[in-house]
């Protein structure tokens, strides 16, 4: 660990030459579209003028970066001449994508040329956007934050961060919020895979993708449920289709919608949105009935499968058909395919997670794979494809309201651990927080409001909230508010805030949908191509990004903006105590080193900036099938050192390519299931039984390692004297020397123990997953047998409703199920991608997919304008697309559009020249209430609506 004190040296003046300045100076502007008086095909809209990239003879610098549009982590060669991103070349030697890209990745270079960017700090005054300089902006915004903090306590300000930050940005933002004295910070993982992280980590230890995209090539069967990689993770399809072609992999897609992935599948199963658990139990019913389960695996490595059997017995084929709409023959055939083709894996995404019952769904998928004995094997696993490029990293680094970095939680021990890493006084940290105790406890130790609920954090009555006041100011730092449900109430909440600050490369929907005339600030952040840092792909690999170009216009990198605000708020020295600061920019590598020093729980400790850069410079040495380096400076390492990469960087752990894979030595990437929930439950052993990783010196289950355990085992003297001094009284998570991990691994044991995966999560509302009807269900007849939970008084500081919503029958007015999803051309809320002309040209119209039968019933034809009205009254005016993609009871809308609100265009609310090329209604204006009982995940995949033709 090398931590450097911050430097006071001012930063050299000048940010370098921006492309625009360059063009002005060199006169190199080419003619381009001098006149734009053309109209394309009938559907084409007029584009605004744009220059072509100049052709330069200047020397070419090639930068290695990673696409920022999804978690696959595709490598990119960016060619830069005189500070201009002039070419993008395929990285054929990159181990994940071999040069391949989807529409978004193949247009990445346009990030270096976007004219739609937010160009300088601005504020809304009397309904007009006024340009500001950075100093004034930080002064005003920081001043207001301090004033609100003084008046209402630090919990009155919400720091909404982003999965589009680098790992360093994510970590620094969490630390920033902690030092500002609040847990009211979160990011998009909450509304994307929070139910996965909670469900999966509580099943077997870590809540992340178990294998890798490359390893999918080894699968004999893959079940996609609520996942559509052909549109959401297109380059993953390269590996999936290789599995199909070379391994004869049986691909099954279970989805309410016949997706583009389904078009490539061997079998497609259409089921009713929100009935995932019933479908999985239906599959397990046949698996148990036919004895297809892997009994030896279950005996050795799984706890409480018998309790699952009892639950599954209730889901007979007729019950399953009634709940899901899938026939007995289809369920049987699917179960048989999965059973006969092992190892196989399950892949799920938002279709599974974004439900009030999301945590039940994710655990049910895991249990299916455990029953089949697929977890911890090459070709098997629970392959959860994450969404944003760094949503895995931002989650791991704790940019969440319920934990500090590394899933340490918010208990006193967690704070003390991080206070040691930060070299800050614990009492000082404690003093930063509101000291009052509320229903959830003291704010320092109680989970903050989630991003899914900030709207209620503003609108809910003060007495009902578990903190001093409602939220008074919101920072939207890299966030698309249109990816959140309940758009109409969101607008109301925005109007009640005292201040809105949008920090983003683009003005975003938050900047235009509020209907306010004052109190909104826009701060231009640069993209990840204008700074450097690390990013964690869906398979847990860390990749380093070069800085491709200097920040465009007056934008600044996220970590610099955090520093500026911290300086104004008076804690910059504490924030950057171990981090060198150049001018006002904290040194990225020092931030990496600081989290390396504290992230023992998930093994983010071995990936030093130096090792990451070695991997980045040697893409070609990593094998496309195994991701392991053959020769070269990273010989034997797995690409990006997928976490856990145990111990210190000096220890040289290669990373863990497949979680819980006992066929390898722990020192070579093998692992057991984590011992996280004690050693016994109701007198029954929950440690592994006769299963252990290769060459483990303990040939049975064992608990997590502590200093005392080392002493008991007689391994204590394997530690150096320095390690002993640090490790005494600590455990594998808190020993900052890394000695405990080192010694455990020297004996080929997993530092976190060796336990059984558990099917019974006794701390959750449904210890064994159950089917529960959605809050807005079209099947009123099932509510009595499969009701939702009772309302909860306080969960993540807010009252959370279940029964009181489900009790109301709205099917008379809203008979149709509404679900949502992705399109390949756009990402998330779409503000960035709809501002890229090469992408925007391809999808210009927001639409709703309607089955031909339903369209005929409603008298709607393809291309008609229709109103889709959600069950809480939010209305969107969109084009009808009549297609068999959806069933008769379900309609589908993509959620990437924004800039229209209930029929009204918000185009003129954007700062001049920054409106995206394509605007459209946000699907989530019409979505409704509903939050997961464990994580507050929002329900976007199953609500009710009605559709009528617009006049």
């Amino acid at each position: 660990m090398r931590l450097t004190r911050k430097s006071d040296t001012p930063r050299a003046s000048g940010l370098g030459i921006s492309r625009r300045q360059f063009l002005q100076r060199s006169g190199a502007t080419t003619g381009g579209l001098a006149a734009v008086g053309f109209m394309g095909a009938p559907m084409m809209q007029r584009a605004e003028a744009d220059e072509k990239t100049p052709v330069l003879d200047a020397p070419v610098e090639t930068k290695r970066t990673v696409c920022s549009h999804c978690s696959v982590g595709c490598g990119v060669y960016a060619e830069v001449q005189e500070g201009i991103w002039t070419k993008q070349e395929p990285a054929f030697d990159h181990p994940f994508n071999r040069g391949a890209h989807c529409a978004k990745g193949a247009s990445l270079r346009q990030h270096g040329h976007s004219t739609k960017r937010l160009k300088y700090p601005m504020k809304l005054v009397g309904g007009e956007w006024q340009r500001m300089n950075w100093d004034d902006a930080i002064e005003e915004i920081g001043g207001k934050v301090m004033e609100l903090s003084e008046q209402h306590g630090p919990d009155s300000i919400y720091w909404l961060g982003s999965a589009k930050f680098s790992n360093e940005g994510s970590y620094l933002m969490r630390k920033f919020a902690a030092l500002a004295g609040t847990n009211n910070t979160d990011h998009q993982a909450r509304i994307c895979h929070s139910t996965t992280v909670a469900g999966v980590s509580n099943t077997w230890g870590y809540g992340a993708m178990t294998n890798s995209l490359n390893d999918l090539q080894n699968a004999k069967s893959i079940l996609f449920i609520g996942s559509n990689p052909a549109e959401a993770h297109p380059v993953a399809m390269q590996h999936i289709l290789l599995a199909k072609e070379k391994n004869n992999c049986n691909i099954v897609v279970a989805d309410p919608r016949f997706t583009r992935t389904a078009a490539k599948a061997d079998k497609y199963v259409r089921f009713r949105p929100g009935s995932d658990v019933a479908l999985i139990w239906g599959l397990l019913w046949h698996i148990f009935e036919n004895g297809w389960e892997d009994q030896e695996y279950i005996d050795q490595r799984v706890y409480a499968m018998d309790e699952v059997r009892d639950e599954v017995a209730k889901y007979t084929p007729d019950v399953v058909e009634s709940i899901t709409g899938v026939s007995e023959a289809d369920v049987y055939d699917t179960a048989r395919r999965l059973a006969e083709n092992r190892p196989g894996c399950v892949v799920w995404c938002m279709g599974g997670t974004q439900h009030t019952t999301g945590n039940n769904n994710t655990r049910a998928y895991c249990i299916l794979e455990l029953a089949l004995g697929n977890v911890g094997k090459s070709g098997g696993g629970a392959n959860i494809f994450r969404g944003h490029d760094n949503v895995q990293g931002a989650t791991d680094l704790g940019l969440m309201s319920h934990s500090l970095p590394g899933y340490y939680g918010l208990a006193e021990g967690a704070w003390k651990h991080w206070a040691r890493v930060w070299d800050l006084d614990y009492e000082w940290l404690e003093s930063r927080f509101d000291q009052t105790e509320y229903a959830d406890g003291k704010p320092m130790f109680s989970s903050g409001i989630t991003v899914s609920r900030w709207v209620d954090g503003v609108l809910e009555e003060e007495e009902a909230i578990s903190q001093r006041t409602q939220l008074k100011a919101m920072f939207y730092w890299g966030h698309a508010v249109n990816s959140q449900t309940r758009g109409v109430e969101m607008q109301k909440a925005m109007q009640q805030l005292e201040m809105m600050v949008i920090v983003d490369p683009y003005p975003t929907v938050a900047g235009v949908m509020h209907g306010r005339t004052d109190g909104v600030y826009l701060l231009p952040a640069c993209s990840q191509f204008e700074t450097s840092g690390s990013v964690t792909a869906t398979n847990r690999s860390l990749q380093w990004r070069d800085k491709v170009i200097d920040p465009l216009f007056e934008s600044k990198p996220d970590h610099e903006i955090m520093y500026l605000l911290a300086r104004k708020m008076g804690f910059a020295d504490e924030l950057c105590k171990n981090i060198e600061v150049n001018g006002t920019e904290p040194l990225i590598e020092d931030i990496t080193r600081e989290f390396n020093a504290g992230m023992w729980t998930v093994g983010y400790t071995g990936q030093s900036p130096e090792r990451l850069k070695t991997h980045q410079q040697n893409w070609h040495t990593f094998d496309f099938h195994t991701t392991q380096a053959k020769g070269g400076p990273a010989d034997g390492d797995y690409y990006g050192m997928p976490w856990p990469c145990w111990g210190t960087a000096e220890m040289g752990h290669p990373g863990t390519p497949i979680l819980y894979d006992t066929s390898k030595r722990v020192s070579e990437g093998g692992l057991t299931f984590r011992a996280r929930y004690g050693i016994e439950r109701n007198g029954e052993n929950i440690l592994a039984d006769g299963s252990y990783s290769l060459d483990s010196e303990i040939e049975d289950g064992y608990p997590e390692f502590t200093a005392d355990m080392l002493k008991d085992l007689g391994w204590w003297d394997d530690l150096t004297d320095e390690e002993k001094a640090e490790a005494d009284g600590k455990n594998w998570k808190t020993d900052l020397s890394g000695g405990i991990q080192r010694v455990a691994i020297a004996h080929e044991c997993s530092p976190f123990g060796n336990a059984k995966a558990r099917c019974n999560v006794w701390t959750f509302p449904d210890p064994i997953p159950k089917h529960r009807e959605p809050l807005y269900t079209s099947r009123r007849d099932l509510v009595a047998d499969y009701p939702t939970w009772d309302d909860v008084t306080s969960h993540y500081r807010l009252p959370t409703l279940y029964k009181s919503i489900q009790e109301k029958d709205v099917t008379g007015k809203y008979p149709t199920i509404l679900t949502s999803g992705r399109m390949v051309e756009y990402e998330g809320g779409g503000e960035e991608t709809r501002s890229m002309s090469w992408l925007a040209e391809l999808q210009q119209e927001m639409f709703v997919e309607i089955n031909p039968a339903l369209a005929n019933d409603l008298g709607i034809a393809e291309g008609d304008d229709v109103w889709v009205e959600g069950a809480e009254g939010g209305r969107v005016r969109v084009k009808a697309m009549v297609t068999n993609r959806v069933g008769r009871e379900v309609v589908f809308m993509p959620f990437h559009f924004g800039g229209m609100f209930q029929g009204e265009s918000l185009h003129d609310r954007y700062p001049e020249g920054s409106a995206p090329y394509v605007l459209g209604e946000a699907a989530n204006t019409a979505t409704t209430y509903g939050y997961d009982s464990v994580t507050q995940m929002q329900e976007t995949k199953c609500t009710l609506c009605r559709i009528e033709k617009a006049s």
């Binding site: 053309f38 529409a103 247009s107 346009q110 549109e231 399809m237 070379k246 090469w838 040209e841």
Partner: protein, 204 residues
């Protein structure tokens, strides 16, 4: 001499439009003109198949045959190019082309279409300087020893470009490897092993 060809493996194409934006990235063709497009048949049906289409650089190109100003020419590599200075925007080539490859920046009648634009196989076109070439025709990757960016960036390696013989070899290997009863076209239940040419009229 190489005979350059494109080939799109419909078994692999997922309609991600990566080829379309890769083309924009390489050539910066203006909004409204797409040298490459992805065509999906039976969208949303069990028989859904997608294929990426641009100029096929035909051996005996109909566009060349009908052009009244004879603006087309063929390179030694078999790439069909045209001279925008000679093009009068009449649109005959568009009528002649079976693939809809020629495109025009304007839609007005009576010669108001503007100069025809189409895929150059990333081989640029006739011009005095590099700047002019890029301005009129886009990238000349062939001159740099590279293949068209659309194929190089294809997300699933569906779109293949290169010498016809090599492209055919790659595709043949895939068909053998798949070993499915329907050969390369198993997405279509009506396709037969001996019918490798995709026949849209056979769609149900």
């Amino acid at each position: 001499m190489a005979q350059m060809k494109f080939m799109c493996d419909a078994e692999r194409c997922i309609e991600c439009n990566g080829c379309v934006t890769a083309c924009k990235n390489a050539n910066e063709v203006e909004w409204g003109v797409q040298r490459r497009r992805v065509v999906t048949l039976d969208d949303g049906e069990p028989t859904e198949v997608s294929i990426s289409v641009a100029c096929m650089h035909c051996d005996d190109a109909p566009c060349m045959a009908v052009c009244p100003t004879d603006c087309f020419y063929k390179t030694d590599d078999g790439i069909v190019l045209h001279d925008k200075d000679l093009c009068i925007g009449c649109g005959y080539c568009l009528y002649a082309c079976p693939f809809g490859a020629p495109q025009f920046p304007k839609q007005n009648a009576f010669g108001e279409r503007g100069k025809m634009d189409k895929c150059t196989f990333c081989a640029g076109g006739p011009a005095e300087t590099k700047e002019e070439e890029y301005q009129k025709y886009g990238a000349n990757r062939i001159a740099e020893g590279k293949l068209p960016l659309c194929a190089e960036m294809c997300s699933t390696k569906a779109l293949l470009a290169g010498d016809a013989q090599e492209v055919a070899d790659i595709f043949r290997q895939r068909v053998v490897q798949r070993g499915h009863k329907d050969g390369g076209w198993s997405g279509n239940p009506q396709a037969e092993a001996d019918s490798l040419a995709y026949d849209a009229t056979q769609q149900g």
